[in-house]
Structure formats: C-alpha cells, structure tokens
C-alpha cells in the first residue's frame, strides 16, 4: 500500500465498448443522394458540391449533370454519421439530399 504522502497512480479502467456504438454506425454502407428539382440553379449546385465535398469543378459538374439528367446522383458512400453530416450540409444549402442504405 502506498504511503499517504506518496503520489498514487490510478490506472483508467479500459474496457472494450461494445454497447454504446451500434455496429452500423461504423459501417460505410450508407449512400448520400442528391435529387433533381427544377429550382436550384445548375451553377449553384456545382458550387455546393465543391464546397461541401471539396471536389474539383469538373467532378462537381459531373455529379450536377447526373442529378439534372438522371433525376439523382449518388454523391458518396459513408458511415451512418458521415452520411448524416453530408445530408445536413447539403440541406443547409437548400438541396434535396437524402441518405439511404446501400443495398449493393
């Protein structure tokens, strides 16, 4: 036993946390989709993709055109939390974005 005037080192209890984070939180099985609408300007959508994802103009335009021509574009595949984050960011800019389970 350590004397009262000696420093005591208390080791933290380290246990594997298996309960607080659901497995699928870490599963990159969610896709972020942007849906077409006739109101958002094409240059605006391109700009938002560049800002939110840090993409080049070319890549952002490619996805913008996919949204415009095909009605939607899958923008990224992420974990649950990251997918939620991107959906929120896109919606802050007024785009119609959702996240879905990647079935593939």
């Amino acid at each position: 036993m350590a004397a009262a005037n000696e420093p005591v080192t208390i080791q933290p209890d380290i246990e594997k946390d298996t309960d607080s984070r659901p497995k699928d939180t870490l599963d990159p099985g969610y896709i972020v989709i942007c849906w077409n609408d006739p109101v958002n300007l094409m240059v605006y959508v391109t700009h938002v993709f560049q800002v939110v994802f840090g993409w080049s103009r070319q890549k952002a335009e490619h996805h913008m055109l996919e949204v415009h021509n095909n009605g939607k574009s899958v923008l990224t595949r992420e974990t649950l939390e990251r997918a939620e984050f991107y959906v929120h960011r896109l919606q802050e800019y007024g785009l119609q974005a959702t996240m879905e389970r990647d079935e593939q």
């Binding site: 700009h47 560049q50 929120h88 007024g94 996240m99 879905e100």
Partner: protein, 157 residues
Amino acid sequence: MILLKADGDRYQFGMSLAEKTVLLALLERYPMIPLSYYKLSKNLGSDKEDDQAMLEEAMSSRRSLLKKRVTQLMHGESRFHQGQNQLRATFTREEIEWLLQVLNDIRVGNWIRLGCPDCEIRMPVPTSREEKIALAEMELAAHFECMFLEAVDGHMK
C-alpha cells in the same frame, strides 16, 4: 451589383442604393422553406418520425444562427461605404456562403409557395399579387446568387 476586386479571402462589390435596398429586403424574408420540406431519408424505416423531428430541430437551430449572422453582417455600421459612384461592400468567402444559403432558401421557398412549378419547362404566369411577389423574389434571389457565385467561383477557377 458587380465585383470590384477579389483580394485573397475578401471580395469587394459595388452596388446602387436600389440594389442594396432590394438585397436587404430579400434577406429579411429568410427563412422561407418549410422545415417539413427536408427529409433525412426516403427509405430508412424504424425511427423515421424521431429522425424527422431531430432533423427539423437541428435545421431550426441552424436557421436561427444563420439569420442572426446575416442580420449582423448586413446591418453592421461599417458594412457599406459610399464610393465615387456607388456603394461598396466587402464580404469574406465565409460570409458569401452564408448569403448564398439565405438567398437560395428565399428562391426555393418562393418556388414552393408558387406550387413547385417546373420552371425548366415553363415559368408560371402569376395571377394574384402574392404570386407576382413570389415570382419576383424568386428571380431577384437568383440574380444575387449568380452575382456572388460568379465572384467566388470565377476566383476559384
């Protein structure tokens, strides 16, 4: 409104008093998009109602913050300066992002008020006073959006 100069993170615009008045009046309209417009997912089941409530709560807080920021930004004492022929206002890149979000909300919000017409095919012909105002606000918001986008994206090239 025109871009006078871009210097690093700062963009100086020139605008007439009329443009400033219209811009400030437009920004006052924020927020216009109903919270229920946004959905987290189309297919994810289980806690859909809880998720939607949380999404709307988060969106509502973000909007309040953005409204406060933009109000402080546009009504700050040193925001507009009288130049030789026009007013001058300088915004940072981040401030322009705030303005773009607000202006686009006003554009989309008015589009929803007009019944979500397919404006890629044909713009609706407004019949009532409310519709005329909604259409005008929608187009004016787009005009200012394009001005800001041209400034920052031209600079990003």
